[in-house]
């Protein structure tokens, strides 16, 4: 880990965008349910979308034409969580009051100012994740401040917006989306790019997450909070990393990104020193008509063209590591992948491992006019797409001379490295949502923001009685569940905390599907416990059987004979045993461990 002065030296700039789903009953602009987990799919529709001005990034009109033809999207529709508004077949309804009040209260607690009039906007989205091709979004707070124990981080904007659809897969050229979660209210909190170290970014993200959780009005579970990180270094460009799920890895992800950006800047310098340039692509299909390289042969036999281009002065730089498992070559291939290719072949690779013969390679070299210090790129695909792919790859190769490109990048699944997603869109993709009237924030009642974290911690310490457990609870995602259970059932806080934070984790580690245990089932278990109808040991026994509903809980208690034995019944049970107190306790507990409360037994035997 590098220190603060290192990051200062490299001109490190970092800002966060936190997106959190709000637990309102309905979606932001319609009357669909905001909970979609158990909804039933009722069918699907196919739509095509087109890019509108300012959204095509590096594509020119001709390529836009090409990409447009293939931009098909399939939307899966759901019974209770999709309506005509979601699929852009009906104008939006009025903004959801619950979500608006929540967002305004968060703005207040971040000391942000609220606009005199809120103007709903359409933010164009190009990946098809919204059937209307835009996301509704509005600025509801500006000029806020986050105080991290003395380190002040500006919060220039807070937005209330719609959640996008979830990707469900692909089919041919079409991307498939689930429209169930689309339109759930989402709050976005942006910090200014003044975060000084990767560690500080992680701390700020955790604090903002805590602030949101403390409201008790946010959705829980995977994907309900997403952190995007903006990172740049001196002489570079802003890169947006989307969807950093695991906060514990946030600093490492940022460190890796910094390493990548610095390496790209180094490559740019070297390319400039070598006066490197890209050359015109040439079709070379005929050179490989009898190739032993399967990767090419199969493409050619299915009618594809092979196109290659010389990269003058690029040798060695395409294959150079830019970070763990990262190379410029991979960045080039990501541009080809963005239009559906499997990848590219380049001159810095070990080409004989593909099965290319010496003769093939030397005739390719001749055809392209390769000289010492040159490299090349090659794609094999159906003709039109091959032409587009090589153009995109060459554009990217040319831009390697700039260094870092303004890009949106995604975290690779299960890794701490990133891959190219799309160019960063500018402000030009915003236009007014003419179907919704401007909003006067004074029409919404002022709700108090979340409790202060220190107050919550004090309360938790008093309730739970164990400082370390209270602290753990404060930072955990189970906090709102804990509060709900304690409030609704009156169960002892220590027991609730121990089970939520420790026992459930143990069960998960032992391979139990605890995510299927519903909130209602969990509340019901603790309710039975608080009423004295089951013992503390029985809680664990029931949980290990992963009940999905409250009815499941009742069945388990009945079928497994988990009802607590207490009072007169316990007295009668004790009478069946002989021996000393200790012997009696041992005997009874070994037989009725799940039904008898040790404390009560102890009391009775006094």
């Amino acid at each position: 880990m590098q220190d603060k002065s290192y990051y200062e030296k490299i001109g490190f700039k970092c800002g966060l965008e936190i997106h959190q789903r709000i637990a309102s009953q309905f979606k932001l602009f319609c009357s669909c349910s905001s909970s979609f987990a158990e909804d039933k799919m009722i069918g699907s529709i196919t739509r095509s979308q087109r890019a509108v001005a300012g959204e095509t990034g590096h594509l020119d009109v001709a390529t836009q034409f090409e990409s447009m033809k293939s931009r098909k999207f399939v939307y899966n529709l759901y019974e209770n969580s999709t309506c005509l508004v979601d699929i852009d077949e009906e104008p939006p309804h009025e903004v959801n009051k619950e979500a608006m009040e929540f967002a305004l209260s968060i703005s207040n607690s971040l000391n942000a100012k609220i606009p005199y009039e809120i103007e709903p906007m359409r933010k164009e989205v190009v990946d098809g994740s919204d059937p209307s091709a835009f996301q509704r979004s509005m600025l509801i707070g500006y000029g806020g401040l986050l105080d991290l124990n003395g380190i002040k981080i500006e919060v220039p904007s807070i937005f209330l917006e719609e959640e996008s659809s979830g990707v469900s897969g692909t089919s041919g050229n079409a991307a498939i989306y689930d429209v169930s979660r689309l339109g759930i209210p989402l709050i976005e909190i942006d910090t200014s790019p003044t975060i000084r170290t990767p560690q500080e970014a992680k701390t700020a993200a955790k604090e903002l997450g805590l602030l949101l959780r403390l409201t008790g009005k946010v959705q829980r579970g995977i994907g309900s909070i997403r952190q995007d990180v903006n990172v740049s270094v001196l002489n570079g460009n802003r890169v947006e990393i989307k969807g950093v799920q695991n906060l514990d890895q946030m600093d490492i992800i940022i460190e890796n990104e910094v390493e990548r950006q610095l390496a790209l800047l180094k490559i740019a310098e070297e390319l400039k020193a070598r006066e490197a340039s890209i050359c015109k692509p040439i079709e070379v299909t005929k050179l490989f008509s009898n190739s032993k390289a399967r990767i090419i042969r199969e493409k050619i036999s299915s009618g594809c063209s092979v196109i290659a281009a010389r990269l003058s002065g690029y040798a060695g730089l395409i294959g150079m590591e830019t970070g763990k498992g990262m190379r410029l070559g991979r960045e080039l291939s990501e541009y080809a992948k963005s239009i559906g290719l499997k990848g590219i072949i380049h001159g810095d690779e070990n080409l004989s491992s593909y099965g290319f013969s010496e003769a093939e390679l030397s005739s390719l070299g001749k055809e392209l006019g390769l000289k010492a210090g040159d490299s090349f790129v090659m794609v094999a695909e159906e003709d039109e797409r091959a032409k587009l792919a090589i153009k995109l790859v060459l554009d990217r190769a040319e831009k390697a001379k700039v260094g870092v490109l303004q890009e949106t990048r995604a975290i690779e699944q299960g890794k701490v490295s990133t891959r190219f997603l799309r160019p960063i869109p500018g402000g030009s993709r915003m236009y007014p949502e003419t179907d919704i009237l401007p909003i006067n924030p004074l029409h919404y009642s002022k709700k108090s923001g979340p409790e202060k974290a220190t107050n919550v911690l004090d309360r938790l310490e008093k309730e739970i009685g164990v400082k370390q457990l209270a602290e753990q609870m404060l930072w955990s995602k189970e906090l709102s569940q804990y509060s709900e259970i304690v409030e609704k059932t009156g169960a002892e806080p220590l027991t609730v905390a121990t089970i939520l934070l420790e026992k459930l984790k143990e069960l998960r580690r032992s391979g139990k599907e605890i995510s299927t245990i519903s909130n209602a089932a969990l509340v019901h278990i603790f309710d039975e416990y608080a009423k004295g109808t089951i013992t503390r040991q029985a809680i664990e026994a029931i949980l290990s059987m992963t009940p999905k509903t409250s009815a499941d809980v009742d069945n388990i208690i009945k079928e497994e004979g988990l009802k607590r034995i207490s009072g007169q019944k316990l007295k009668r049970l004790i009478e069946e045993y002989d021996g000393s107190k200790v012997e009696k306790i041992r005997a009874i507990m070994s037989k009725h461990r799940l039904n008898v409360d040790g404390k009560e037994l102890n009391e009775m035997l006094k």
Binding site: V61, K69, Y116, L139, M430
Partner: protein, 442 residues
């Protein structure tokens, strides 16, 4: 529009909508593009587009400082690299449908694409379908259309064919598109090629608009479709895969917002057109005419469409009669019924109808059931009306019957009009009630 006070403050800062301005009030400063105020919202709020693209409403006060930082840039369509060439010629008549319009991202205003290269910038696919000549005829919402606009459109269609078009597309607001399609069906005879009305349910300033496919499919059908009739081309379902071509006298808007709002009532589907241009012919159609295109654009505006409902007041006929109306279409219930045997005489329409007929008005009856045929012979109430001289309009939809009666009375005398009202001219009446199976087919 901003309030006069704000307008004045903006002017005295030398600024106008679209300019980059700076507003300072106390310790707060905002910089952004001044956005014109729409009719919605608080007139005391100044709207700025901030650097991040978001608009924000700022409360105006006399003490705030407004400075102009730099002038706005005016919107112009980027030149398309594509050209129309080597394809069938078609005419495209704009009437105010918003297809081809483009939002100016700076000011939020809407620009119409009236030049071919602008249209191609929006929908590049058209460059490989047709050679399109645009006629920017008018720009009005379809709810503001009158028969005078129908006449202008009919003339423009004739001009487009005279100019060598194989087919003609008319972009039109959707609300009254089926009235216009019916009017053009009666006004134009011996068509040499397809006349297709199309529009958009979702505005084309969004990437998901139905306008694009509707226009693409309309272009396909105009260049190679075999039906030389007036028809409507809109989405078949909610997916962007097929459009359906419905005869102009049998189409009806059946949903307020869905893209597949237009449905064929009683078997008027001519063809389905796939977005890639494949055409499936579904029903009968009229081929291209060798005869000279005939135009009859006269229309009698003193014709009304009156809905019958429980408690409806027959005196409405007196009102129309006194106003000099020449014809009425009664949108009756069921098989074509009116309250003519009521217990309470003030609700009885029989006498009012008799008087209207005697005064020389042409009275037609269609059904508000929308689907199905009227029949004066089944129930006594209808027999009484039939005897009174009311004309039963078979399976013609009420809106179409209304347009037809206006057309007839504009071009023919009373008796001829009355005779022709229940005879088919342009597919508005069918002889046979075909059985159609399926969920929404009747």
């Amino acid at each position: 529009m901003y309030s006069a006070e704000i307008e004045k403050a903006i002017r005295s800062a030398g600024a106008k909508a679209g300019d980059m301005i700076r507003i300072t009030e106390g310790d707060e400063t905002f910089e952004g593009i001044l956005i014109p105020r729409s009719e919605a919202g608080d007139p005391a709020a100044l709207i700025l587009k901030l650097q991040n693209g978001y608009n924000i409403g700022i409360k105006f006060s006399g003490s705030m400082k407004i400075e102009r930082i730099k002038p706005g840039s005016s919107f112009s369509f980027p030149k398309s690299a594509l050209r129309f060439s080597g394809h069938e010629k078609i005419g495209l008549i704009y009437t105010g449908g918003t297809i081809g319009s483009k939002v100016d991202y700076t000011t939020g205003g809407v620009h119409m694409a009236t030049k071919p290269e602008e249209l191609l910038y929006e929908i590049p696919e058209l460059s490989v379908i047709a050679d399109i000549k645009v006629n920017n005829l008018m720009s009005i919402a379809s709810d503001d259309m009158t028969y005078k606009e129908w006449q202008m459109i009919a003339n423009a269609v004739k001009d487009a064919f005279a100019d060598g078009a194989r087919g003609v597309i008319i972009t039109h607001g959707t609300d009254t598109m089926h009235y216009t399609s019916a009017a053009l069906s009666f006004m134009l005879t011996n068509l040499p090629g397809p006349v297709i009305l199309t529009g958009a349910q979702r505005s084309p300033d969004r990437g998901s608009s139905d306008a694009f496919m509707n226009l693409i499919c309309a272009s396909h059908f105009s260049t190679k479709g075999l039906a030389a009739e007036v028809s409507i081309c809109m989405h078949m379902g909610t997916s962007d895969d097929y459009c359906t071509i419905i005869r102009g006298t049998r189409a009806r808007k059946m949903h307020t917002s869905r893209r597949d709002a237009f449905k064929d009532v009683g078997g008027g589907t001519i063809a389905d057109v796939r977005i890639d241009g494949e055409i499936d012919y579904i029903g009968r159609y009229q081929g291209a005419s060798e005869a000279k295109l005939e135009l009859r654009t006269k229309f009698e505006p003193k014709v009304a469409l009156v809905k019958i409902y429980p408690n409806s007041d027959p005196d409405i006929l007196k009102y129309y009669s006194e106003k000099g109306y020449k014809g009425i279409i009664l949108e009756a219930t069921g098989l074509g019924h009116l309250p003519v045997s009521t217990v309470h005489k003030e609700f009885n329409w029989l006498q009012a109808v008799n008087e209207a007929v005697d005064k020389g008005m042409v009275i037609g009856v269609s059904s508000q059931c929308i689907y199905g045929r009227v029949n004066p012979r089944v129930y006594k109430n209808a027999r009484m009306l039939n005897d009174a001289g009311v004309i039963y309009c078979e399976d013609m939809m009420p809106e179409v019957a209304y347009v037809k009666l206006g057309f007839l009375l504009g071009n023919y005398k009373h008796d001829k009009s009355a005779e022709m009202l229940c005879k088919n001219i342009a597919g508005e009446i069918t002889e046979r009630s075909e059985i159609r199976l399926g969920s929404d087919a009747r």
